[in-house]
Symmetry: C2
Subunit: 346 residues, 2 copies
């Protein structure tokens, strides 16, 4: 089914069909228009994307680079982003970087070579230097789950939840319940987001009149490489054991994310404590699993659907040329979801 066949069927020239297809139909006779429309769905015509892209240089595919869709958090993003894109006739090309910087760059290169002009990048890297050359050539980049930084390209859009506030909400929730000895469990504070979450934690403590110095940050030994996802739970488990060995173990624990929190729960249980009774645990993200675990996990929800929709909208408006060329930073408001894993200290 080519545009030529449609044109023949409708008794017009291919140009006219093209005009209609591309909204240049201001001065087209309604009658002509209807003839074409009838021909189109009589023949079941769909424009050939390859031809269209070859001619225009544009396309309707955006790239999504995530650490791993095996992780429910990124899976959820993929799902929502795809949903938003689909509604506008866009497609999503999925790429798993496996947290390998090189693979991340290769993917973005590949996408660019394929004519993809917009990419949602969920980078684990603090710097975006590796993709700068393409950004300079016009690649539109949306950084997800990563607040913007000094060296970032001017056109960059950053989309993230307000990590400091989220973390503070979690902490406050614990102090409101009466907890006074708190701990923050995380790997190395290597990314901006992690630092922000820690900042929220200390802010929450201060607000409750607790000296952050008396709180624990575990594990201290976390190094810069522990960016893993599944490993986050291992880390949480180990950290829990460490905390239990203290003379005065904390009664409330704020974890860097849900996976980590689940690991902490696991570790606490290993140590004979009951989460949601003897100890309280708060996570971050609100992955589906949080509501399935036993006990269900109190956590800080990221409005994924809205964030994904925003990512797409931003990208699209910039691809449609009309959008602002200037970068910006979108911070979403996190929401505390209280479930069973938190309770007043006993």
């Amino acid at each position: 089914m080519t545009i030529q066949q449609v044109a023949t069927e409708a008794g017009v020239s291919p140009s006219t069909v093209s005009n209609l297809l591309n909204g240049r139909n201001h001065r087209m006779l309604p009658e002509t228009r209807q003839r074409i429309e009838r021909a189109i769905d009589k023949l079941g015509y769909r424009p050939n994307r390859a031809a269209r892209q070859l001619r225009t240089g544009r396309n309707t595919t955006i790239g999504l680079v995530v650490p791993s869709v095996g992780n429910p958090f990124w899976g959820a993003l993929a799902r929502h982003l795809e949903s938003a894109a689909l509604a506008e006739g866009y497609h999503v090309l999925l790429c798993n970087s496996e947290r390998d910087p090189r693979r991340e760059r290769d993917y973005v290169d590949e996408l660019w070579a394929d004519g993809v002009h917009g990419v949602v990048l969920c980078s684990s890297l603090p710097s975006l230097d590796h993709v700068m050359p393409l950004v300079e050539r016009g690649l539109q980049l949306v950084a997800f789950d990563r607040t913007s930084q000094a060296g970032d390209p001017a056109s960059l859009v950053s989309i993230s939840v307000d990590n400091a506030i989220g973390s503070q909400l979690a902490t406050q929730h614990l102090t409101d319940l009466g907890h006074r000895r708190l701990a923050f469990v995380s790997g190395a504070l290597a990314s901006v987001n992690r630092k922000e979450r820690y900042r929220g934690f200390t802010a929450g403590l201060e607000q409750a009149g607790i000296d952050p110095a008396t709180s624990v940050r575990a594990p201290v030994k976390g190094d810069a490489d522990d960016f893993g996802d599944v490993e986050a739970s291992e880390l949480g488990r180990a950290a829990a054991a460490e905390l239990l060995a203290l003379e005065e173990p904390p009664t409330g624990i704020v974890a860097i994310n849900d996976m980590c929190a689940l690991g902490v729960c696991r570790g606490l249980r290993d140590g004979g404590l009951e989460v949601g009774k003897d100890v309280s645990v708060v996570g971050f993200d609100d992955i589906v699993l949080a509501d399935l675990y036993a006990p269900t996990l109190t956590t800080v929800r990221q409005p994924m659907k809205e964030m994904a929709a925003a990512a797409f909208t931003q990208l699209r408006s910039r691809l449609d040329d009309s959008g602002p060329t200037q970068g910006q930073s979108l911070l979403f408001r996190p929401e505390l979801i209280v479930r069973e894993s938190t309770a007043p200290p006993t």
Copy 2:
């Protein structure tokens, strides 16, 4: 960077460059070849996919249609499939059907219109009639997690784990531990796979000399619509409550999948029982979560990586025209993974 520029740089015609690029270099002077190769990476040339596809009608993108990448099981598939595809220079276009048959069909249509000739379809539907028209036009289809059926297109490749064996392994594991009162928890046995799993369950019972009639299948009230993923856990939880209300509750439970199994664990705990001690539970799939839950879940592992690789290989060989045109069914061997959720009956 066009092929023309490379040709000029190398002092040959575009055709010659194209010949090299497409492996038609049998009778090419090694010297010419090197000149071209040098030109290519001097200019950093990458062939334009749109142009190539327009000309040849082929492309290197395959489609993946899953119910939802939000579900870790499908996320894992996406990850592994993408990995296999990447190694051969192929891309994966991700589509979430959200278990909506119409959306599923629309996606496949869309992919076809985009020039995608190969799709891995993880359909929740027993029949594939809705995509038959495209298959007849040449779409290569690999059905994943769905054994082939009578009405399927002749060219269809089906990839699945051997569900009957898997389920039998799970059942056998319980009987070997000494359990005699078993239950099978599932929604309606609406899909072939589910029926197979139930068949494996009864086979396992018979092998242990237990009359399947004495075992329980819960919930009886499951209807055909309960195909959900998150809902699977709700279903498990409800089923557990139901089972506990029996006069002689089962001591061993085989769940249709891991999510359902986790729901069952949840329900049992609600009823005051300790999983892995008072009751044993076995799942199916071995999602990442199975090893994180408390207690860790004994389950039947599907060799996802191998299955995903096979899906890609099958698709590719058929897309490269050379492959067999005849459909086939690949059944993978499941593996029992024993963890903490199973123990001898007390």
